[in-house]
Subunit: 332 residues, 2 copies
């Protein structure tokens, strides 16, 4: 692969550019997921980490640090920290969601058991804190421990918001920050902090990660209703699971009495019948909520690109800008 | 209650002596378990925290700091940190063990669901890291993040050691450190660190907590086989659950072929029948394993008391010494 190949997606170009750093992150992850006494730990962790994934979050940390001209080692530790936090949340999510598949493979809770997923997740959280303590930066620890709290709070919020028709747009954005944006923004922010960026630059890196994460998650929620013409295997899952995503929240806000009864039965009570998915799409079209939500995703993407203007020009900044386009490109 | 009342147990005397500090710990816990957005979090946490418990771990931090003459505020933050870590592990333990009762009340996983227990536990872990970061002490963060890793590793080890007759005494001690001693020793150690104790004093506080925790857990495991004549509601649970505790490990090591077959059927395969508990007691008596294990618990208790000799004399030291006696007093 070559960087000049325009057919490469932005995260693939980042992976090429940061290949050496990524190798070191992989080495750190392998060294730190080991447990002298409990071989179950590296088994479960390796199953998930070696299944691939795009390593997007650790790349954001590496890219932010490199963009700021960093030449030390702490960005590798922090990228591994971010990946450990992400892996721990995936393990716990699969228990919470009772998932059977992740990254095309059976989930750890299915292959081993829920117990192992809970406890190995806890181990990875603890490991991530050990790694961040090694950087010696209180500011980094503050950012990442706050992100961990926002993630857990967002997950609890998502649990209690499910099937609750009173869920507001504000709550939705908090859930999205917890699910996705909090770790994106912490990943870019700590990259800037270890590189010694100015307050303005660190703030810009936070804003980029936050807006990128929100754009990414809104796009994901739109795809579940077939946005961009894509009908994937998960299309309609959110309706069946009673998730209050932005198109639904807005359709409920605009609903007349009959429409409200439809949402109460499907989202509220979980009684989804044949044809309900198509009815949901009709209601979205009637109130323009898919178009409105798409506009929101594009606005967050634009906000992410705009944040980059405060940062040094160059190839990494260009790729990060393309990445902000890419996460919403599937919508048009 | 008065401190002079000899009928008070050591932890009750500590609670009287540290009453003001404990009130502040309670205030910190209540303030920090709040979540503006997700009311499920304080609901679940309050259910567990307000059920009582002896608050032994936060008292160990407070006592260690006060013993060293500390007059600041960080010991309160750290005591709350320690209680949050403990509460998080209880929430996750109850999911792992599929428990129905804790502290005489239905468990959170039963009252709400496993999902809430997993995610609220994660939130409390994150909160505990935020609190320790506020102390600004890298050494404290190092100690507590290591303890968190040891706890999770010990729990995974316990999971994989269950029903495994090849479990060694060394593995048992690692499990015990994970279950109990790692948080006891971190609790006392960080109390000494914030108080600015010398390396020798901090080491002595670590050794005290470590030995106290091990003595406590070995005693607990002995009580499960009716040590000290107490037949509680949990007597025999460990045999049914196939736990490799010290008396069993030693009885297996000394077993002839018939005895080994008994252990393979009961502990190994989980086929426990009427009369098996009595047979286990006979085998313990034949090989003297309950007596030997009791001697070990007393030796750890003595080690805890000995560690205190490096620390300032006074009322707190006396109570901590009595506490080391108390945790094994139920065995004789």
């Amino acid at each position: 692969m070559s960087l000049d190949d325009a057919s490469h997606k932005p995260h693939e170009r980042l992976a090429i550019l940061l290949a050496d750093d990524l190798t070191r992150v992989g080495d750190t992850i392998r060294a730190r997921m080991a447990s002298e006494h409990a071989p179950r730990i590296p088994e479960v962790t390796a199953h998930l980490i070696e299944a691939g994934g795009k390593r997007l979050r650790p790349m954001l940390t590496l890219a932010a640090a490199r963009l700021m001209g960093y030449a030390g080692d702490d960005h590798v530790r922090l990228a591994a920290t971010v990946e450990f936090i992400h892996t721990a949340t995936l393990l716990h999510d699969d228990v919470v969601d009772e998932s059977a598949q992740r990254r095309g493979r059976p989930t750890a809770n299915l292959l081993w058991d829920n117990k192992s997923s809970v406890l190995v997740g806890d181990y990875l959280f603890a490991r991530s804190f050990q790694l961040m303590v090694e950087t010696g930066s209180l500011r980094v620890m503050d950012i990442l421990s706050n992100a961990a709290a926002t993630i857990a709070e967002g997950e609890v919020l998502q649990l209690t918001a499910a099937r609750n028709l009173a869920t507001t747009e504000e709550t939705y954005i908090q859930i999205v920050r917890g699910k996705t944006a909090a770790l994106f923004s912490a990943a870019t922010e700590v990259g800037g902090v270890v590189a010694g960026g100015s307050d303005t630059q660190v703030r810009a890196l936070f804003d980029y990660g936050d807006a990128l994460g929100i754009a990414f998650q809104i796009a994901d929620d739109l795809l579940d209703y077939g946005a961009g013409g894509a009908i994937g295997k998960n299309t309609g899952d959110d309706l069946r699971e009673g998730k209050l995503t932005l198109p639904v929240i807005r359709a409920i806000a605009a609903a007349d009495a009959d429409e409200r009864a439809f949402w109460e039965r499907t989202i509220g009570k979980g009684r989804v019948e044949d044809g309900d998915y198509e009815t949901a799409l009709e209601l979205f079209a009637r109130h323009g909520t898919l178009d409105g939500t798409r506009a929101d995703a594009l606005a967050w993407s634009a906000k992410a690109r705009a944040a980059l203007e405060a940062l040094p020009e160059g190839e990494i900044r260009d790729i990060l800008s393309d990445l902000a386009d890419y996460v919403v490109a599937r919508l048009v």
